[in-house]
Amino acid sequence: MTTETTEFLAPPPDTPRRLHADPGLPDRVFRTVARTGGGLVLAVMLLVGGFLLHRAWQALDRAGPSFLTTESWEPDAGRFGIAAVLLGTVLIALVAITVAVPLATGAALYISEYAPPRLRRTLISTVDLMAAVPSVVYGLWGVFWLEESILPIARWIATYLGWIPFLRVDGADPDDPLAPPTVYTSSTFVAGLVVAMMVAPIICSIMREVFSQAPAGEREGAHALGATRWGMIRSVVLPFGKGGMIGGTMLGLGRALGETIAVYMVISQVFTLQWHVLQTGTSSVSSLIALRYGEATPFGMSALMAAGFALFVMTLIVNFAASSIVARSRSGAASDA
């Protein structure tokens, strides 16, 4: 009896009401269309990735772990691997980043902190435009101008810094002024410089965007405490923009890893581990594909797919790392990099 009464008196526990709003037919149609569009795009993207993996599997299955350690590329003879091409790709990208990041940082700081305000808009437009210049144009410049003009610099580095292992050039004789300069052409160094010029505007434009977002109040605070302009940059602008700098660099690295045409035009492909960045002959995954796709047998095609897939995985990791760094940094809240 008592239990019955308490049950009767106790109000039912509070549960949130479910709001049912009928969106109406047009809205349901809109949602379906939007969802279908999204699903379609997802299907296409997964198809590309899945198909690559599927075709690559045949070659990966045959090669096994030796795919990562073999240097030569003779898929029809069963000996193929990406050790050499992957090393070449990474070295070209590293040379590019080493050259591009200081230049891009300097240019970004110059544009956002030092340039006269009247000039700033023009400089920003110039850098953004350069980021859109097709890579074949950079390739032309590399082949027809840079390759000859860089020879004295390559020779100078090899002569005075040749004791560092990766800067040594086999077969070069620094004491003989008439020695043929061909040992320095088509090298990782030249390809890296071309790619550096290609990615520097991309990196610069991301960094400049981040630097210009550094809060004006903190800048003025630093100046009010007696900081010089460089002191203000070191204590406010650079710490604020650190995430954007790292993210921009990694995005540039991703572009440098995947670059095809400019590299293909400059280098001469070799399939050995080439550690010496100044020595002629290097290789990259994308130029391997461009070089060999035409005469590939079905199995060779599968091997190329595997190489392409490895490249894709590498750029994917770099890009995701970049976007997570940018998103977690203080300046990343408003930047879309």
Partner: protein, 386 residues
């Protein structure tokens, strides 16, 4: 850049102090005569000292070494000169200023040089009118520059990019609207996958289309295959840029529209998309600029021909970057000049697209063009739809 005329309603009435604007950076730094003297003196001393080292004292030679040594000496001497009047932090400030300016100017100078070099080398081909009106079918490697041209490549580029845009723009914008307006776990998945696909190297996109469309489906190499490859590459770029722009639309505008009782698709159609229009156009144009300049997907899928082929569905069709790439492979100077001319045309096309993007996209969301303002101030015509 268009500057929207100030609306009369926003102007403060006379006699009142204007409201404080948004926080603005004050221009700091002043130039003194002694700074200029220090720079000039250090430069003169560095040049003289380097000359002395190279010509008289040490067995150095070569232009590269001269520039490097002179620059290092300049930095040292400049620090010395500044340190006569200033303290440590000020000296570091001056040196950092010099280094930053040098790096910035070097990068900008090299970039401008890359473009100027291509235009300069291409000048011989560009002055001939036939370069724009003929194809290369009659021009052998040894023909002079007044025979043959790149009409076939211009037509190929326009058709391939046109088809790619027709495929990617509707799909891209619908997908971007889906990502922001129908949020949920599925939208998050799609966004992650799209972000991943922006990392797809362009040659792999070309390899995919080559393996599926050409090898598996048995289609011949054609402009259509090339535009499919370009679409695979451009789609994630356009979706990502459009997604960013649509997310910038202020939430208050959307909420106002919902509060007036309009449904979701009406809000998207009448509020979100018109507000984001200029940004969306910029996204599409910048994606186009990327697509126009891509060589590697086209290299694998379009084939190569010297003849004009206006039909994208059958037969090889060449585009501007591919033509550049193939022309400069030749050892003949005339073919190389044609290659540079083609690259110059390609670059002018990219420049045109870029200027277009700047004109359209210079405004933030919600800012109106002159035409829109005029239309808004005109009396509203009666609408037929309820």
């Amino acid at each position: 850049m268009t500057i929207a005329p100030e609306r009369p309603a926003l102007r403060p009435p006379a006699g009142q102090a204007p409201a404080p604007g948004p926080e603005r950076r004050r221009a700091t730094g002043t130039l003194r005569a002694s700074d200029v003297y220090a720079v000039l003196g250090a430069a003169a001393a560095a040049l003289a000292l380097t000359w002395l080292l190279f010509a008289r004292l040490l067995p150095f030679s070569g232009a590269v070494g001269f520039v490097l040594v002179a620059y290092a000496l300049f930095l040292g001497l400049y620090a010395l000169l500044v340190s006569f009047d200033e303290d440590g932090p000020a000296v570091r400030d001056r040196i950092a200023g010099v280094v930053v300016r040098t790096l910035g100017l070097v990068l900008l100078a090299v970039l401008v040089f890359v473009v100027a070099f291509t235009l300069w080398e291409g000048r011989e081909a560009l002055v001939h009118l036939n370069f724009f009106t003929e194809d290369m079918s009659l021009a052998g490697p040894l023909e002079p520059l007044d025979v043959g041209g790149i009409l076939h490549a211009v037509v190929g580029t326009l058709e391939q990019v046109g088809i790619a845009l027709a495929l990617t723009v509707p799909a891209g914008i619908v997908c971007a609207v889906f990502l922001t307006e129908v949020p949920g776990p599925f939208a998050r998945l799609v966004r992650t996958v799209v972000e991943a696909m922006t990392a797809l190297p362009s040659i792999v996109a070309g390899l995919f289309v080559y393996a599926t469309v050409i090898l598996s489906l048995g289609m011949e190499r054609s402009g259509l295959a090339a535009s499919l490859a370009l679409s695979v590459m451009m789609l994630p770029i356009i979706i990502r840029a459009a997604d960013v722009v649509i997310r910038l639309v202020p939430g208050t505008l959307r909420e106002a529209s919902y509060a007036m009782g309009s449904s979701r698709w009406r809000t998207v159609w009448h509020v979100v998309l018109p507000t984001a229009r200029s940004g969306l156009t910029t996204a599409v144009i910048l994606g186009t600029a990327r697509g126009v300049g891509e060589t590697s997907p086209v290299l694998l899928t379009a084939g190569f021909t010297a003849e004009l082929n206006a039909l994208p569905t059958s037969g090889a069709q060449v585009s501007l970057p591919l033509a550049t790439f193939e022309l400069v492979k030749s050892p003949e100077p005339n073919m190389i000049a044609r290659g540079f001319g083609t690259a110059a045309v390609l670059m002018l096309l990219v420049l045109l697209l870029f200027v277009l993007a700047r004109i359209v996209g210079g405004r933030g969301p919600g800012q109106l063009t002159k035409r829109q303002e005029r239309r808004r101030s005109a009396p509203v015509p009666p609408r037929s739809t309820p």
